[in-house]
Every structure is written in C-alpha cells, then in structure tokens.
Amino acid sequence: MVSGGALGGLARGVSSSVWGIGSAAVGSGFFSSRRALQVENETLKQELSRLEAEAVGFEALESENRELRGIVHIAEDVSGITAPIISSVRSSPYGTFIVGAGSADGISAGSVVMADGQRGFVIGQIAEVGEHSSLVEEIFAPGASAEGSVGGAELIFEGQGGGNARAEAPRAISIAEGDSVTSAMFGGRLIGVVGAVPADSASAYKSIYVRTPVSLSELQFVYVVPRFQ
C-alpha cells in the first residue's frame, strides 16, 4: 500500500507548486484590483507628463544656450548688451519688434542691433527707447533703405520686410547667390546674403534679392551695441 509519507510528500509538492503559481500570479499583478490599476495608471501618466515638461524645458534651455554662445562671438569684438526679444517679429506691419532692454541698460536711439552668426550680422537699429524695453526697426523693414556693398559695388537696398531686401545693380557686376552684403554704415559688418539674382538679358540692370542669414522669427536674443565701434 501506499505509505502516508509518500502521499504527504506528493501533496506538499502539489501544494507548494500551487502556492508558487499563486504567488507568481499575485506578484505579476494579475489579481490586482481594477481600482489599484487605475491609480497606478494615473500616477504613471502624471509622471510621464512631468518628464515631458522637463524635456521641453531642457530643449528650450539648450536652444537658448546655443544662441547665447553665438552672441559671445560678437561680444568678443564689440562691447554691448544681450537683450531678449519680447515680442513677435511677425506682428508688426512696419518691420519692427521689441527687445527687453532700454535706457536703464545704456541703450539709446540709433544703437545697432546684431544677431549671432560666425561674424555677427546687423539686423536693425533702435528706433525708440523706453526705460526697460526698446523698439527695433529692422534694417530691411518695408520702405527702409540701407547702403550696402556686394561684389565690389555700392548699392542701395530697399527693404521689403521679413528680412528681405532688393537692389538694382549694373549687369556688368558679377554677383552670385550666397555672396555677402556688408555695409560701411555699420563698420563693414554683414547685413545680408544674396538670395537670388534673376537673369534678365533685356535690361541694363539686374535685380538682386537679399535676405538676412537667419530667420528673424527663430531669434530669441539679440546683441545691442550702444555705440557702434
């Protein structure tokens, strides 16, 4: 006959197996209540939202850091102050925008506003000064004109708004896409690059379309030089 000890061992073996399966099932959360799962789900969602917000914050900081590093190049050459752009650059019908620095920071009307880049380029001038904010008029504001030099020729650039300008040059002058436009008005600094030179063989002059090297709407900071050096 079967001994009680053998049966007992078999029973204990089955029992331990069942307990093992049971504890594994409980440990896996299979039998967690619906309420507990909802709570956990909510907690995880909140954690995810927090991490996403943090990631966005880090991206903003990274972008700000990159832009400020670009401005450092300009600050090595000329002394001025870094100012944040505190308005939209697309809202103005007159090619103006507002920066968060004013007379309290040593800025006066006519100060030159520059943006980052390898050499730094001029994007406008201070038109009106408040105590802690100033109105900047873009160098290529609609209706504004600026003297500039490209391909060895001195030309007048008529602003078209949105960081674009147009000039007429004699056809004999060699100007190509990507050429730099500098201005003696701003110490020979870069004011734009040639974007297009449409060919028109019938005319003695050719139109030159110039744009600022970066999109103004991407800028967060500018560098204001109180007195151009």
Binding site: S87, S88, R90, S91, S92, P93, Y94, T96, G110, G124, Q125, I126, A127, E128, L135, E137, A141, G143, A144, S145, A146
Partner: protein, 92 residues
C-alpha cells in the same frame, strides 16, 4: 435673434483686433477692423488702428524718414468712409 448675435460679434471682433495686434500677423487686426466696419460705425475700429500704430510704428524711421500711421488712417477711412454704404444698406 440676429440683433443679439450681431451685438455679441462686435466685442468678439474688437477683442480679436486688439489681441491680434499683439500676437498675430498684421492681417488679423486689419481683418477685424474691416469686418467690424461692415456692420458698425464702431469706435473700436480706429482704436485698433491707433493701438497697432502706437505699438509698432517708430516715430521716425532710423534713416530719418517719416512713416505714415497706416492702420490709424485705415481705421478712420473704414469708419467714416464706409458710413454712406452702411446707411444705405443696413437697417437701423
């Protein structure tokens, strides 16, 4: 019914005009001014224009040129210039 809708459109368009002057492209406050002028001889129209000019217009350009306050002028034209049309076609 229409009168009630018409009356609620006016503050909505005015808000759109003032708010758009700050954050939106210039076409938005201009559109609000034009839409307002179709139905109302509203004081908000030149006020929006004046607001745009006060905020964005440089008193004189950096190159010394005088800039016209185009939005204020547009507001004045829309309010008083369109008045004969409004009085002709709108029921008072």
């Amino acid at each position: 019914m229409w009168y009630r809708v018409s009356n609620s459109i006016r503050p909505l368009l005015a808000t759109l005009g003032f708010f758009g002057a700050i954050v939106a492209p210039p076409s938005v406050p201009l559109l609000a001014m034009v839409l307002l002028s179709f139905r109302f001889a509203a004081w908000e129209i030149p006020a929006i224009g004046l607001f745009v000019d006060l905020m964005w217009l440089a008193p004189s350009g950096v190159d010394g040129t005088f800039s016209l306050p185009l939005f204020t002028l547009a507001g004045v034209v829309l309010v008083w210039g369109l008045e004969p049309l409004r009085s002709e076609f709108l029921m008072r």
